[in-house]
Symmetry: C2
DNA sequence: TCCGGCTAATTTGCATGCAAAGCCATTCAG
DNA sequence: CTGAATGGCTTTGCATGCAAATTAGCCGGA
């Protein structure tokens, strides 16, 4: 573990926040966290500052607090992710991609098909995430890539934010199929250099996640991550 | 000055970076900066971490370095700003704005008209910036507002990034007029709830800034901010 | 001249001390 | 009983010490 302490602290804290282990509104005290994690306050502070920059914490007069999101903001975050990913695939389409990239994409599509058919939810989640990353990278724009990554960090905004819903819901399984359809069409649009179509499809693709949020919302007690989201009357 | 020291350090450093006073590739040493600014290394570090989060610095194995941008990345940053502002005005349009907001917008448009006619470039810059902030705020989405603000920080991506070009160039003055035309149409589109039109116009509006960059590029020696931009071939 | 490796000088990451500021709870006036 | 003031406790912001790591300078060999 030659990893700096502020980085591990960052990972731990970010994990606790997005997993709902730390409720929105919780005050994070550097000194307390420091001895709970057995390190000094300096690396903890670095982590807290970074998390503030990511929008997961707010810093008021004295100290950091876990931000809580209104349901509306969750939808906004999802749309933001779609918008940025959409811009990325549009750019990729306009630029044109190589045949090898096209083949790799199709290979990944096939793998996704397989795990969907087999109902391997955990596998799907990982592959889906990687697929989105790969798509974004095709934009060849460091700035876009970085901003998309950033957008993934908002709660529920990542391309694979609902592992727990998993097998249960029929609606959820349907949305996987529709999503996969989107994936295929997006690849097609990129390959045929139809940037506008790729963009539009990606917006729509992200919108699918809205449904997942409302499914999760209606089964709130089974979705610990929702602790971050302000209960609206 | 009850302002924390890390904040003033942040402002100073950010200013020096985006103004081109610090060249891309410059290594920033906390200890050195600390005694140059007469404070300790702790607040300097906070500022550096924040600047890394803003994308203006990169942190390698040991230490922070001023990022340098390829010309292509400058265009990407401008487009990103347009994309986010576009999403904001689209949302504002779909939501609909109040008559008072509409009146305030028109009032601002009139002020902009006036300073353009009078050639008060400094005034224009400030008003233009405020106008863009106001438009963005109409989205009523904290997340979008924050991300737009963030996008402004990239070099040349802000809505008023070229004070120095100012009076000189005829092309620049023309672009002001076209930009103002965009402003008017965007307000119109928002008021008539035509989200798609508002979005498209905002993308196009940001694209105007591309021209400004190339104008500046061709007069590189008069544009110190360009020091951040990697000289291509 | 160019290059590899050695030592010395910085510089970073982390720990910790300390003053000032914020927060809490109790007390006291109305 | 409500609300403001007070005092103590906690926590932050900043400074600084220190070991480990990185960089820079220097020298000798090809």
């Amino acid at each position: 573990m030659t990893e700096p302490q502020w980085k591990s602290a960052l990972y731990v804290l970010r994990g606790q926040i997005v997993s709902g282990e730390l409720l929105g509104g919780t005050k994070l005290r550097a000194s307390h966290l420091a001895d709970k994690m057995g390190i000094s306050r300096t690396p903890i502070s670095e982590a807290l500052i970074k998390l503030e920059g990511e929008g997961l914490l707010v810093r008021d007069k004295s100290g950091f607090t876990v931000r809580s999101f209104a349901l509306e903001e969750v939808y906004d975050a999802i749309d933001l992710r779609g918008l940025l990913e959409g811009a990325a695939v549009k750019k990729a389409a306009q630029r044109g991609i190589s045949d090898t990239d096209f083949q790799r994409l199709n290979q990944r599509l096939a793998e996704l098909d397989r795990v969907i058919a087999d109902g391997q939810v955990g596998e799907y989640d990982q592959l889906n995430h990687d697929f989105h990353v790969y798509l974004t990278a095709l934009s060849d724009s460091d700035i876009l890539i970085a901003e998309v990554q950033r957008a993934y960090r908002f709660p529920f905004a990542g391309p694979s934010a609902f592992p727990t819903l998993a097998a249960d819901s029929k609606r959820f399984r349907t949305s996987l199929l529709i999503g996969q359809q989107h994936h295929q069409h997006i690849v097609e649009a990129i390959y045929t250099r139809d940037g506008a179509r790729a963009f539009a499809l990606m917006l729509e693709h992200a919108r699918l996640a809205h449904d997942n949020v409302s499914i999760a919302s209606s089964a709130r007690e089974f979705t610990p991550q929702l602790a971050l989201v302000k209960q609206s009357r």
